[in-house]
C-alpha cells in the first residue's frame, strides 16, 4: 500500500490545476492510451509536434502534482485478486460522525463517500478472500446497529469515460 493515498474526512474541494497547451494535449491523448513500443513517449511527441524530453518532463510534473492520479497499465481488478462489493448504510444524521468512525475502522473499507439519499453512506469493501466480505458486513452491522445494503456487481459494462480539457 506504499503508494496508496489515504485521505480521511477530506471535503470535496480541490484546486483546479493550471495547465499548459502541451499538458492539455497530453491529458486528452493519453486518456485514450499509450502505444506499446520501445519509446512510447517519442511516438507521442511526434504526434503532438513536441520533443520526447518535453513530453517526459510534463508527464512527470502532471503525475507529481497529482493532476494524473495514475499513469500506466490499468489492470482488471479481478486479476489483482480478492473480492469487492459496494455497500450502503442509512445513517441517522445525528450519528453520522460516530458511524463514519466505526465503518472506517475496518481496514477492508477502501472508499467511503457521504451521499445525498436516505442511504447516505456508500463504501467499497475489499477483501483478500470472497467469504471475508460477509464477515465484514456482519461485523459492521454489529458495530453500528444498522442494516447494511449490499450491492455487489452482477455485471460490469465497458466504459468509455473521456474528460477533455
Amino acid at each position: 500500500m506504499d503508494n496508496a493515498t489515504l485521505v480521511k474526512n477530506e471535503k470535496i474541494c480541490h484546486e483546479i490545476a493550471e495547465l499548459s497547451a502541451l499538458d492539455k494535449s497530453l491529458i486528452n491523448l493519453l486518456q485514450h492510451g499509450l502505444p506499446v513500443c520501445e519509446r512510447p513517449f517519442e511516438q507521442i511527441a511526434n504526434e503532438l509536434g513536441s520533443s520526447e524530453a518535453q513530453v517526459i518532463q510534463h508527464l512527470k510534473e502532471l503525475k507529481q502534482s497529482r493532476v494524473l492520479s495514475r499513469f500506466g497499465p490499468m489492470f482488471d481488478a479481478v486479476y489483482l485478486g480478492g473480492a469487492f462489493t459496494l455497500a450502503a448504510l442509512a445513517v441517522p444524521d445525528e450519528d453520522f460522525a460516530k458511524v463514519t468512525e466505526q465503518v472506517n475502522s475496518f481496514e477492508q473499507i477502501a472508499h467511503n463517500y457521504r451521499r445525498t439519499h436516505r442511504f447516505n453512506m456508500w463504501f467499497v469493501i475489499a477483501t483478500e478472500e470472497a467469504n471475508e466480505i460477509e464477515r465484514v458486513i456482519t461485523a459492521i452491522e454489529e458495530k453500528t446497529g444498522l442494516k447494511v445494503l449490499n450491492t455487489p456487481k452482477l455485471k460490469e459494462f465497458y466504459v468509455g469515460l473521456y474528460l477533455p480539457v
Binding site: 493519453l30 497529482r66 449490499n150 450491492t151 465497458y158 466504459v159
Partner: protein, 182 residues
C-alpha cells in the same frame, strides 16, 4: 439473488504475469525506455516484455495503458451516482449503451433489495457543474425511457419508490488504493 456476495472465479496468473503486475501497478516509469526498465527488473528481454504487454492487453488482464486524470483537478468537480430501476430482461443491453456514454466512468448491474432499494443499474457521471451532471442524468433517462419500471408506491413505507435517482457525494470519508499485495 440474495444478500450473498457473488463469488467471482479467481482467474489464475502465471508467475511472470504476477511479477509484471507487481512491478507496474503503481505506474509505468516515465522515462525514455520504460519497457527496457521493466525488462531489466524481470531479467527478460525487452521484446519479451512488449509481447507480454500485448498479450495481457489482448486477454483483458490489462484494460489499457493510459493516463487517469484526477477529475477534480481538471475541473470535473461534480459527480453523481445515477441509479435506475430497469426491466431485468433489457438491463444488459441498455447497461451496455449507458456505459458507452463519454461522461460515464463506471456502469454496473447490481442486485435490488426490495422494498428499500429498487435500483439495479448504476452509472457514475462526472461534470464541471451541477447543471452538467443533471443534463447527463437526463440523457441517460432519455436512453432508458422505454425500459424504466414504475412500481406502485406503498404508502405505509416512509420512502417513495422512484424509477431513478441521482446520489451526489458531499464528502469523501475514506479513500485508499487497491493493490496486489504479493
Amino acid at each position: 439473488m440474495s444478500d450473498t456476495t457473488i463469488l467471482q472465479e479467481k482467474p489464475s496468473l502465471t508467475a511472470i504475469e504476477r511479477q509484471y503486475i507487481l512491478l507496474t501497478q503503481n505506474g509505468l516509469p516515465i522515462i525514455e525506455k520504460p519497457y527496457h526498465h521493466i525488462a531489466e527488473q524481470m531479467q527478460i528481454s525487452v521484446e519479451e516484455v512488449l509481447a507480454l504487454t500485448n498479450d495481457m492487453l489482448a486477454r483483458g488482464i490489462i484494460r489499457r495503458i493510459a493516463a487517469v486524470p484526477n477529475h477534480y483537478k481538471l475541473g470535473y468537480q461534480f459527480n453523481g451516482m445515477t441509479v435506475w430501476d430497469v426491466d431485468d430482461k433489457q438491463a444488459e443491453k441498455f447497461g451496455d449503451a449507458v456505459g458507452r456514454l463519454p461522461f460515464v466512468s463506471h456502469c454496473y448491474l447490481r442486485p435490488r433489495h426490495l422494498p428499500q432499494w429498487n435500483y439495479n443499474l448504476f452509472a457514475m457521471v462526472h461534470g464541471k457543474t451541477p447543471e452538467a451532471i443533471a443534463k447527463y442524468r437526463g440523457q441517460i433517462k432519455e436512453l432508458l425511457k422505454e425500459v424504466l419500471l414504475t412500481r406502485n408506491n406503498d404508502l405505509s413505507q416512509d420512502f417513495m419508490t422512484k424509477s431513478n435517482d441521482m446520489l451526489t457525494s458531499t464528502e469523501i470519508l475514506k479513500k485508499t488504493g487497491l493493490r496486489l499485495k504479493r
